[in-house]
């Protein structure tokens, strides 16, 4: 009886929290690792947080007390800031965000502050763009594997569906034109109205950037079908190795013949400071659209999730400090690169491969050879062993809608060095034990080579 008085949305499972992606978190919450107090606890490797450079930010804040509106140095701004609720945001905030976005992309493209729209974190940005572009029942195509919470962000309250574009390890999960066309056709056959394509670049969970050719192919595809392209570039500054990151903005502003006639009204970028700067608590989500009507609509919708002006003010100061940003971006890449190498080399030593990647806060680990059979059930069985016996919360590929069982996303930037060493040692010991338990003949001879 109760459920009749509430909405369908409130009582369905559209929030997606019953998926295994969240189960691992629960295991961690019940028994969290602590180097001294709980050395046998579960190590959290399912949380894509960037904890490596918070010291740099904290140091900057200490040296810049006027960036806070509560310190004696900054309190003269308190009243006007606390009172300001204009959904255009503080002008200095928009300018600083546009500036930072440009720098993160190696200054290959300039961003217009007038197109910077706030949202309640990246989560709010994704939902808002869906509300702007699609009606309930419409669909977006999305390459697999993808961030599990997109199902909630894009679809829970909006009624929008996400339809997979299947990608495979045989070509390093590249998004092919054929796969896009197939997904589009399948939707047409089922009478589903496709409104656009949603990509994440750099990819979560793969950690790879899209190459220029793929980006051009995507632009040409959406332009031909007259549908939207939403690019979530939340991991843009986490790229730590060549090749350099190429953003969609750079592509559409280039002179490449494939994209020259692209209708810019179809291009939208999602961004946030949660990963690049490691500030998820501050809820800085951004929508950047080349479509004026979308900017206008998203801006009105931003009323549902504006960034606290206290935070806008702080971020505006920090991201206008070009010397700081340049140093930060460089140092962050260096620290991420080091972590990536330690883990992937360490895994290579025991015969475990990863998809070669150059960005993100995680790597995509290949445990296919440890599966009893190439099925999702076997993947989940292996995952439960890793959670319960090895005590690592890593994320199974199936929770990312991966089309091939046996892949796992492992986060590496959300712990200190000591914890990292414990985690690596645990994976190594586990893999050695598993290999020894199997007959030598069955052992995959790929060995420690990384794929791609």
């Amino acid at each position: 009886m109760e459920s009749f008085t509430l909405s369908k949305i409130a009582t369905n499972n559209g929030h997606g929290e019953d998926s295994p992606y969240f189960d691992g978190w629960k295991a961690y919450d019940n028994d969290p690792f602590h180097l001294d107090e709980n050395p046998n606890g579960v190590i959290q490797m399912g949380l894509a947080e960037n904890q490596l450079c918070l010291d740099l930010i904290e140091d900057w804040i200490t040296r810049n007390p006027s960036a806070s509106i509560c310190t004696p140095e900054g309190v003269d701004k308190f009243k006007e800031t606390a009172n300001f609720q204009d959904y255009h945001g503080l002008p200095e905030f928009r300018n600083a965000i546009a500036n930072f976005m440009g720098k993160v992309r190696g200054s290959t493209v300039k961003f217009d502050p007038a197109r910077v729209v706030m949202a309640g974190g990246a989560t709010g940005a994704a939902e808002t763009i869906a509300f702007c572009l699609a009606n309930s029942g419409d669909a977006f195509l999305i390459p697999t594997p993808y961030y599990p919470a997109f199902d909630r962000d894009f679809g829970w309250r909006t009624g929008v569906q996400l339809l997979p574009v299947h990608c495979y390890s045989s070509n390093k999960f590249k998004i092919t034109r054929a796969a896009l066309e197939a997904a589009y056709q399948e939707a047409q056959d089922a009478n589903i109205n496709v409104k656009g394509v949603l990509i994440t670049n750099p990819s979560n969970p793969l950690g790879r950037i899209l190459d220029g050719e793929t980006l051009c192919s995507l632009v040409s595809f959406i332009n031909e079908k007259n549908i939207h392209l939403v690019c979530d570039e939340i991991y843009a500054a986490t790229v730590f190795d060549k090749p350099n990151f190429v953003s969609i903005s750079e592509v559409i502003e280039s002179n490449n013949t494939l994209v020259q006639h692209c209708n810019k009204n179809l291009i939208h970028v999602l961004y946030s400071l949660s990963k690049d700067m490691g500030l998820p608590g501050f809820r800085v989500g951004i929508i950047y659209s080349y479509n004026d009507a979308v900017v206008s609509c998203a801006r009105k919708m931003s009323s549902y999730g504006l960034v606290s002006t206290q935070t806008q003010h702080l971020i505006a100061s920090m991201l206008s400090d070009n010397e700081f940003i340049d140093k930060f971006i460089k140092e962050s890449s260096r620290r991420l690169s080091r972590r990536y190498e330690v883990f992937t080399n360490g895994l290579g030593e025991v015969g475990i491969g990863c998809l070669k990647s150059n960005g993100g806060l995680f790597f995509w680990m290949d445990l296919r050879q440890l599966l009893k059979e190439p099925t999702v059930e076997a993947e989940m069985a292996l995952w439960r062993v890793v959670i319960n016996e090895v005590k690592l919360n890593i994320s199974p590929g199936s929770s990312f809608h991966c089309s091939e069982p046996g892949w796992f996303r492992v986060c590496f930037a959300n712990m200190d060095d000591a914890t990292m060493n414990v985690a690596l040692e645990r994976i190594q010991s586990f893999c050695i034990r598993r290999f020894e338990a199997e007959k030598p003949a069955k052992r995959n001879i790929i060995g420690g080579r990384t794929l791609g």
Partner: protein, 474 residues
């Protein structure tokens, strides 16, 4: 653009045309004591600017809160990473304590039933998403906050059916008005999911009587629907009698109902710090419910608009300082009362009455006797004269869906006392000159604003998408 959603291309964001124009004109010609003394005075903005000094002095005495420190230790990292949608526990604890203090400690709130959201705008929308499906409806007493047309309806696709209230009984909600609204919804084939009241009221500034609250509770119980009480102005009640503001939470408690009763689970409260503390920029909103399913769903939905952890922490320190909050609540109320007295006597001096009220950041002013006819066209005409000739931006009742022309909401807490006095002087001068039958022709000239041109301008504004960034003001 057919490429976009229906929501993007319709006008259901409901940004009212008169606010829009009033804002624009104000921005073009904003009053400034020194640089533009004959500019337009903003009286359409329900902001509380009276007590910032109290907040600023608290911060001067509490540097830890500003510096991401707890007991002298840095907690920057913890806050930077904190994105748990359950909210910072110390903030929720402090907030429920503050809510209780505002209600004279007659009721207590359980922090586990409180859901934090990025502002009241987000709280309202989230609650509606939890309670109603597209096409269902809520009943709202008129006049009501224009922003509800956006917050409750736009993305949720829910309908609002007005409960007509009249000045003949000071706009109090009656049983027959409730039943009438319910029937009208039924005739339109709309399933009614609940009633939404704002207590204290925007735009009236009045507080609901106990009888009204009892009536509403009986009504929702009888119809098996929800009651949402937006208590965003609860801390602005300034009547010295402590019993004057009665929260619906108190009435439930007085019925000896426990929190698990069917009725208790149907009553939900909205709150925010935008008005009581004057911090709209910080985006602090909340919804409170005894229904576990609502709390659970709303908590997950709050992911779309969480409060910055930096702000949660600052305010948790401030609101747990009970010595400060006690002093703040009392002093803030004193200052609001003072402003209310000034504006009421100033208007009386000009022969203009107000609806008696004891809360809010505004009063509801009766200018029916100044209308050329008892019509909304005449109200619009008068509003424009006040905007262009008297140079005051106030809010016409039509914008709040008032059923009687001639009422205006006038804010009094968003300017200095001198500015308020000047505004009152201007009104007096205007009324005197009208009495003399001699319309003042200001720089704009009233001849530009004939009824016909007013109506066609109105149509244009209604069709135009707003490009203005300002919230329809609460």
């Amino acid at each position: 653009m057919k490429f976009l959603s229906r929501k993007a291309t319709c006008n259901s964001h409901g940004q009212d045309s008169s606010y829009f124009l009033g804002w624009q004109e104000y921005e073009k010609n904003a009053y400034d004591e020194i640089t533009n003394p004959s500019g337009i005075i903003q009286m359409g903005l329900a902001e509380n600017q009276l007590s910032f000094d109290l907040l600023e002095s608290w911060m001067a005495n509490n540097p830890d809160a500003a510096g991401f420190k707890r007991n002298g230790q840095s907690i920057f990292r913890e806050l930077a990473l904190f994105q748990d949608y359950h909210g910072l526990p110390e903030f929720k604890n402090a907030l429920v304590q503050f809510m209780s203090q505002i209600r004279g400690n007659k009721v207590t709130f359980d922090p586990s039933k409180l859901v934090l959201t990025a502002g009241a705008t987000s709280a309202s929308e989230t609650l509606i998403f939890c309670l109603a499906n597209p096409g269902e409806a809520f009943l709202l007493p008129t006049p009501y906050y224009p922003g509800f047309d956006r917050d409750l309806k736009w993305r949720t696709e829910v309908e609002i059916v007005p409960i007509h209230c009249s000045s003949s009984n000071n706009f109090i909600v009656t049983k027959s008005a409730l039943e009438d609204a319910y029937q009208r919804a039924h005739k339109r084939n709309l399933k009614v999911k609940g009633v939404v009241i704002t207590n204290p009221s925007n735009p009236l500034g009045t507080t609901s009587t106990r009888q009204e609250l009892d009536l509403l509770l009986d009504f929702v119980q009888d119809k098996n629907i929800h009651l949402i009480s937006d208590e965003i102005y609860s801390g602005t009640h300034f009547n010295s009698s402590p019993n004057k503001f009665i929260s619906v939470a108190q009435v439930l408690k007085d019925r000896n109902l426990d929190d698990n009763s069917e009725l208790s689970k149907r009553v939900h409260i909205l709150y925010s710090l935008s008005k009581d503390l004057g911090l709209p920029g910080f985006r602090v909103g909340a919804l409170y419910s005894n229904d576990d399913t609502v709390v659970s769903a709303a908590t997950k939905m709050s992911s779309f608009g969480l409060i910055s952890s930096q702000t949660q922490y600052l305010l948790s320190c401030m609101l747990s300082d009970q010595k400060f909050t006690t002093h703040y609540i009392v002093e803030n109320q004193k200052r609001l009362k003072n402003r209310y007295d000034i504006i009421v006597s100033g208007l009386r001096n000009a022969g203009i009455g107000v609806l008696p009220s004891d809360a809010g950041l505004f009063c509801y002013v009766d200018m029916r006797h100044l209308l050329s006819s008892n019509t909304f066209e005449a109200e619009m005409e008068l509003w424009k004269k006040i905007l262009y000739q008297v140079k005051l931006n106030i809010s016409p009742g039509a914008a709040c869906h008032c059923t009687e022309p001639g009422w205006f909401r006038v804010c009094f807490a968003n300017m200095s006392e001198d500015t308020l006095s000047l505004a009152l002087q201007r009104i007096k001068d205007f009324v005197d000159s009208t009495k003399r039958g001699d319309e003042t022709r200001g720089a704009s000239g009233s001849s530009r604003y004939s009824s016909r041109s007013v109506m066609s301008l109105t149509k244009k504004w209604v069709l135009r998408l707003s490009s203005n960034g300002h919230e329809p003001e609460r």
